[in-house]
C-alpha cells in the first residue's frame, strides 16, 4: 500500500492503493469515478478506456501507480470547463453520441467516447477508415457501430462549423436532435 498523487480530470487526488491495484480499481473503488466500466478486466473490451495526456489507455491493464505524472481524463472529465468558468460544457463527441442514437445500453460508451476524443485530439478531419481504426479497441454489442461512427462524423462536422456543443445542456430543447444533426 502506498499513497499516490494523481491528477484526475484536472483535480489533484491523493489515494492510498495496493501496489497491484489497477487504475480502474482506484477510479471505481477509491475515487467513486464509476463512469469507467469493467467489461472484462483483461484488456479485451475497451470499456475502461481513459486518457493519459489525451491518449487512450486501458485502465484495467494499467497499474494505478503508473498513472502518476500523467493527466488522467475519465468520462466524468470529458466535458471541458471553458476558461474562467466552473460549469462544464459537453464535449461535441458526447452531444453527437446522444443525438445520433449511439447510446443504447451505454455501457461501452464512456470508453468509446474517450477513444473518439483521443482521435479528434490528433486528427480534426478523420476519414471513416481512420474512425474505424481509432475505435477498433472498443467493443460495442448493441449498435453494430453504425450510429457510433455517424456520431463521430457528426461531431467532426459540427466542430468544423464551430457549433459542436450546441444545445447540449438545454433542458427544454434537449430532447430533439437539431434538424440535419442526424445523418441519413
Amino acid at each position: 500500500m502506498r499513497v499516490l498523487q494523481l491528477e484526475i480530470n484536472g483535480d489533484a487526488r491523493e489515494v492510498a492503493a495496493h501496489d497491484h491495484w489497477t487504475l480502474l480499481e482506484v477510479l471505481r473503488y477509491s475515487l467513486g469515478l464509476v463512469g469507467s466500466k469493467q467489461g472484462c478486466d483483461k484488456g479485451d473490451c475497451g470499456s475502461c478506456t481513459v486518457l493519459f495526456d489525451g491518449k487512450p489507455v486501458l485502465s484495467c491493464l494499467t497499474l494505478a501507480a503508473s498513472a502518476v505524472g500523467h493527466q488522467v481524463t475519465t468520462i466524468e472529465g470529458l466535458a471541458p470547463k471553458p476558461t474562467g468558468t466552473l460549469q462544464p460544457v459537453l464535449d461535441p463527441v458526447q452531444v453527437a453520441f446522444n443525438d445520433c442514437g449511439a447510446l443504447q445500453c451505454g455501457f461501452c460508451q464512456p470508453g468509446m467516447m474517450l477513444s473518439a476524443r483521443a482521435l479528434l485530439n490528433t486528427n480534426a478531419e478523420p476519414s471513416r477508415e481512420e474512425i474505424h481504426q481509432a475505435l477498433s479497441g472498443n467493443l460495442c454489442r448493441c449498435t453494430g457501430y453504425t450510429q457510433i461512427v455517424q456520431a463521430v462524423e457528426t461531431a467532426v462536422a459540427r466542430i468544423a462549423q464551430g457549433d459542436g456543443a450546441s444545445a447540449s445542456n438545454d433542458g427544454a430543447a434537449g430532447h430533439s436532435p437539431p434538424d440535419g444533426g442526424v445523418p441519413a
Binding site: 467489461g39 483483461k42 447510446l103 445500453c105 472498443n138 453504425t146
Partner: protein, 784 residues
C-alpha cells in the same frame, strides 16, 4: 376503456408532435456523461463482496462439502451451499430443475456449488480455495446425439428416465402426400453452432435486508418480475417482503432473462450477514453462465411445384440444450412454430427434440429458437431457386403470405410488409445488376424472415394484463410514469415517455419514467420476445387517454367551450378557436385537480385470444408479426477462405417507427450480431466440457474493422393493433442476415455453406470439395 381496446393509428390530436420523429433518449444525457448508474456502480455502507465456487467437473455427484476452514477465515462473514437454498426453480414453471447452488449433483463445468461473502473480493476468493468438496465423477455427455441415445446416467430425473428435455412433434396438413405429389423435392442437413450474448456488462447483483427484514435486490436483469417471483419461492419469503430493482443495464440480448444463481446468493448472504452483499461475475463466469443460442442439427425437406410454389416443409431438429431447462420448453416449440411465415406453405411438419448435455445451459438469445431454423430454411429456399433457375427474390415473392392471412399452424397475420421489404432491399442493393454478375469471388444473397411481437403465452398462466402503466401528475406540470418494463438499452423507457408526451401534449423534459422497480411500478412481464413496445406502448396510450379525458373535460368546463376545442400540445393547453385563450399544462393540471381530486391514471394491455386449437398452439402466437428481408454482398478470398462482408441491406417492417433513430439502431445491431456470430463466434466446450475460450479475445466479437456497412431500411405497415401501428424491431432483423450471407457466398464462389460458422477453414474445405467435384462430374445444380 378495456385493456384490449385498440387505440388506432392516428395522433391523439392533429399531427404527431413527437412520435415518428427523431428524438434523443430520455437517459441519453446520463449515458453521455457517464453518470448512468449500473448495478456494479452501486455501493452501500458496510457492503460485503461475494464470490462463487464452481464445479471443476462436467457431471458429478457431490459426496460432501466442508466449509469450516472458509468460515474460519478472518474477513469471511457468510458461506452458503446448496442445502441453504434447496428449493428448485426455473423460469418456465413446468421445468423447475435449477437450484441456486448445486444440491447433490453438478451438471457442467462452472455449475455453482458454494458462495462466500467477505469484506472484499480477495478474501472471498481465498475462502473459496478453503472449501473442500468431494465429488464422485459421472459420465459426461458432450454430444447431443449420445444424450439422445444413452439413458444412464441421466442428467436430470424425469418420468421417462432419459436425457430428453422436451420433444415437440406437430403436423399441419397432409405433409407426406405433398411430398409424394410435388415435382420438386429438396432435402438437406444444416447445423447451427452455439453462440452467446456477450453483453459488455457482466452479470451483477446487490442485496440489502433492512431492519424489518425487507429484502431489496438490485440486479442486472431484463425480467424483474420473474426474478421477484423466483426469489420469493427460493427464499421462502413473501413476495411483498421483496423489492427488485433493475438499474441501468449494460446489454442483455436474452442473456439476463433467467433468474441467476448470484441473485439468490446475494439475497441469502444478505439475510445471513445482515449486511449488503454484492456479487459481480467475471467475464469467464459470464461465458459459463451462458443461456445463449442453442446448437441445432436440422434436417429439412422442401416440396415445391415447378413454378417454385412451396407445397410442404418437413423438419427434424436436434437441439443441444446444455445442462438445464431454462426456457427450453419454449425454445423447442419456437424451433418449429415460428417458421410458418412470411411464406405460404400448405403443409408443414416439425419434430424437434431438445436434449440435456453437460455443457453450459442454453437459453434465449436475440431471435429465440428461430434464428437457427430460419438459417436452414432460407438456405434451402435458395437451393430451390437455384434448381428452378428462378431469381431468389422472385421465388420469395411468389410464396409471400401477405397481410390478413393465417399461417399453416394457425397463427393470425394482420399487418405484413414483407413484399415491401423485398422490394426495398432489391432496389437499394441494386440486386438485379449484381446477382450472378459481380465477377470473381463476389456475390449477393437474399433471405427473408418473420418474428413475433410478444406472445400471448405469459410464462405462468394467468388472466391479468401482460403490461401495466401508472401515471402520476404533479402540480408543477411534471408527469411521472411508472413502467414495469425493463429498459435494456433498446430505449423502452424513452418509448414510454414519447407516447405519454404525445398523448398529453407535453414536452419530453416534463416527463419522468420510473421503470423496473417492483415496489413502485405495475407488473410488466419483462424485456423478452420483443413484446415491450407493442404491449407497454399500448398500456401507456390507455393510461394517457384516461388522464387526458379528465384534463380536457375540466378545461372545457373552465372555459365553457366544447371539448373538441381544447387541445394539449407542446406543454400548453389551447382553445383551438380562441388564440388568446391558453395556459401552461401545470395550470391545466391544477384546474383538473380541483374537479377530480388528485390526478393519476392506470393503463393496461393484454393480448386477444390467439393461436391454433392444439396443444402448444398458443406458443408463438403473437398479436403482430414483424417481417424482414436482407441482401448481403460479400467478397470471398479463394486463397485464404476469408469472407469479407462488404455491405448489408436490411429492410424491416416494424409497423411504425415511433423513433426512427432507435429503430435503425435495433436493425443495425441485429445485423451486426447475426453476421458476427456467423463469421467469428463459436460458443463451444471441448470433449472434457471445458469452455474453449471464455474471454472476449478467444470468443472474438466483431470490432469496427470487422463490421460491414449496414443500411437499415424502415418499412411501415401500420399494424392495426400496435401503438400508433408499431411492431417489434429488436430481434426480427437478425434472422435473415445469416442465411442471406450463406446465399451470397454461393453467388460469389458456388459453395453452399449449410453448417455454421463460416470460418476460413470451412470455406477452404468447401472450395476444395467443389473443385474436386467440378473436375469429376461437371453437372450444375446437383449438389442437393
Amino acid at each position: 376503456m378495456s385493456a384490449r381496446d385498440q387505440h388506432g393509428l392516428a395522433a391523439p390530436h392533429g399531427e404527431f408532435q413527437i412520435i415518428g420523429k427523431p428524438q434523443r433518449k430520455i437517459d441519453g444525457a446520463a449515458k453521455a456523461t457517464g453518470s448512468a448508474l449500473y448495478t456494479d456502480d452501486l455501493t452501500l455502507p458496510g457492503m460485503l463482496h461475494a464470490k462463487t465456487l464452481r464445479s471443476p467437473h462436467p457431471h458429478a455427484r457431490i459426496v460432501s462439502i466442508d466449509t469450516s476452514a472458509a468460515q474460519a477465515l478472518p474477513g469471511v462473514h457468510g458461506v452458503i451451499t446448496g442445502k441453504d437454498l434447496p428449493t428448485p426453480y426455473g423460469v418456465i414453471p413446468w421445468t423447475p430443475d435449477e437450484t441456486a447452488l448445486a444440491v447433490d449433483k453438478v451438471r457442467f463445468i462452472g455449475d455453482e456449488v458454494a458462495a462466500v461473502a467477505a469484506v472484499d473480493e480477495d478474501t472471498a476468493l481465498r475462502a473459496l480455495e478453503l472449501i473442500q468438496v468431494e465429488y464422485e465423477v459421472l459420465h459426461s455427455y458432450q454430444d447431443p446425439k449420445e444424450a439422445l441415445e444413452r439413458d444412464e446416467p441421466t442428467i436430470h430425473q424425469n418420468k421417462r428416465g432419459d436425457n430428453v428435455s422436451k420433444r415437440v412433434k406437430l403436423d399441419f396438413g397432409e405433409v407426406d402426400q405433398a411430398f409424394e405429389t410435388s415435382p420438386v423435392v429438396i432435402k438437406g442437413d444444416y447445423s447451427f453452432h452455439g453462440s452467446t450474448h456477450a453483453a459488455i456488462e457482466p452479470h451483477c447483483a446487490l442485496a440489502q435486508v433492512d431492519g424489518d427484514g425487507l429484502l431489496t435486490l438490485w440486479s442486472a436483469t431484463q425480467i424483474t418480475h420473474y426474478v421477484h417471483r423466483a426469489l420469493s419461492s427460493v427464499l421462502d419469503l413473501a413476495p411483498h417482503r421483496i423489492r427488485v430493482i433493475q438499474p441501468a443495464i449494460g446489454g442483455a440480448f436474452g442473456g439476463k432473462s433467467d433468474p441467476f444463481s448470484l441473485e439468490f446468493c446475494v439475497a441469502k448472504l444478505a439475510q445471513i450477514t445482515g449486511r449488503p452483499v454484492k456479487m459481480l461475475w467475471t467475464r469467464e463466469e459470464v461465458f459459463y453462465a451462458h443461456r445463449g443460442r442453442h446448437p441445432m442439427e436440422m434436417q429439412y425437406s422442401l416440396a415445391a411445384n415447378e413454378d417454385g410454389k412451396i407445397q410442404g416443409v418437413d423438419a427434424r431438429i436436434l437441439i443441444d440444450g446444455g445442462s438445464y431447462s431454462s426456457f427450453g420448453l419454449v425454445t423447442t416449440y419456437y424451433s418449429g412454430q415460428l417458421l410458418t411465415g412470411p411464406y405460404d406453405f400448405p403443409t408443414y411438419r416439425f419434430d424437434s427434440t431438445r436434449v440435456f448435455t453437460n455443457k453450459p445451459p442454453c437459453g434465449p438469445k436475440r431471435g429465440h429458437g428461430s434464428v437457427q431454423p430460419r438459417f436452414a430454411f432460407e438456405v434451402q429456399l435458395d437451393e430451390l431457386a437455384e434448381k428452378l433457375s428462378i431469381d431468389p427474390i422472385e421465388l420469395r415473392r411468389r410464396n409471400s403470405l401477405g397481410p390478413q392471412t393465417k399461417t399453416v399452424n394457425g397463427q393470425r397475420i394482420t399487418s405484413c410488409g414483407f413484399d415491401e421489404c423485398l422490394l426495398q432491399v432489391e432496389e437499394a442493393s441494386d440486386w438485379k445488376n449484381k446477382r450472378q454478375s459481380l465477377g470473381s469471388g463476389k456475390g449477393v444473397g437474399v433471405a427473408g424472415s418473420m418474428y413475433i411481437t410478444g406472445t400471448n403465452y405469459p410464462i405462468y398462466p394467468n388472466e391479468m394484463p401482460q403490461a401495466g402503466i401508472q401515471i402520476k401528475v404533479d402540480r408543477s406540470g411534471v408527469v411521472t410514469v411508472f413502467s414495469g418494463a425493463n429498459d435494456i438499452g433498446q430505449g423502452s423507457s424513452s418509448m414510454v415517455a414519447y407516447v405519454v408526451a404525445e398523448e398529453l401534449g407535453l414536452t419530453l423534459d416534463m416527463l419522468r419514467v420510473v421503470a423496473a422497480d417492483t415496489d413502485l411500478c405495475p407488473v410488466d412481464l419483462g424485456a423478452y420476445s420483443s413484446r415491450v413496445t407493442f404491449m407497454v406502448g399500448n398500456a401507456a396510450i390507455d393510461a394517457s387517454r384516461k388522464l387526458r379525458k379528465l384534463v380536457v373535460g375540466s378545461l372545457a368546463k373552465h372555459w365553457d367551450v366544447e371539448e373538441r376545442r381544447v387541445r394539449l400540445v407542446k406543454g400548453e393547453a389551447l382553445d383551438l378557436e380562441d388564440p388568446e385563450r391558453h395556459m401552461t399544462m401545470a395550470e391545466a393540471f391544477q384546474i383538473a385537480e380541483v374537479e377530480h381530486d388528485t390526478l393519476g391514471a392506470t393503463g393496461s394491455y393484454n393480448t386477444p385470444t390467439l393461436g391454433g386449437d392444439y396443444r402448444g398452439g398458443s406458443i408463438g402466437a403473437s398479436p403482430a408479426y414483424s417481417f424482414s428481408a436482407h441482401v448481403v454482398e460479400v467478397e470471398v478470398d479463394e486463397e485464404t477462405g476469408r469472407i469479407d462482408v462488404q455491405e448489408v441491406w436490411c429492410a424491416h417492417d416494424c409497423g411504425k417507427a415511433l423513433n426512427p433513430i432507435l429503430v435503425s439502431g435495433q436493425i443495425e445491431g441485429s445485423v451486426y450480431m447475426g453476421i458476427a456470430e456467423a463469421l467469428y463466434e463459436h460458443h463451444q466446450t471441448n470433449r472434457f466440457g471445458l469452455h474453449s475460450g471464455p474471454s472476449l479475445l478467444d470468443y472474438p466479437l466483431a470490432t469496427t474493422l470487422d463490421t460491414p456497412e449496414i443500411k437499415s431500411l424502415i418499412v411501415e405497415s401500420n399494424d392495426p393493433e400496435g401503438p400508433y401501428g408499431a411492431k417489434e424491431a429488436g430481434e426480427g432483423p437478425l434472422h435473415s442476415a445469416i442465411p442471406a450471407l450463406s446465399n451470397a457466398i454461393f453467388d460469389a464462389v458456388g459453395i453452399r455453406l449449410r453448417h455454421l460458422p463460416f470460418t476460413p477453414d470451412v470455406v477452404l474445405r468447401a472450395l476444395r470439395e467443389k473443385r474436386a467435384n467440378d473436375n469429376q462430374a461437371p453437372s450444375p445444380g446437383s449438389d442437393a
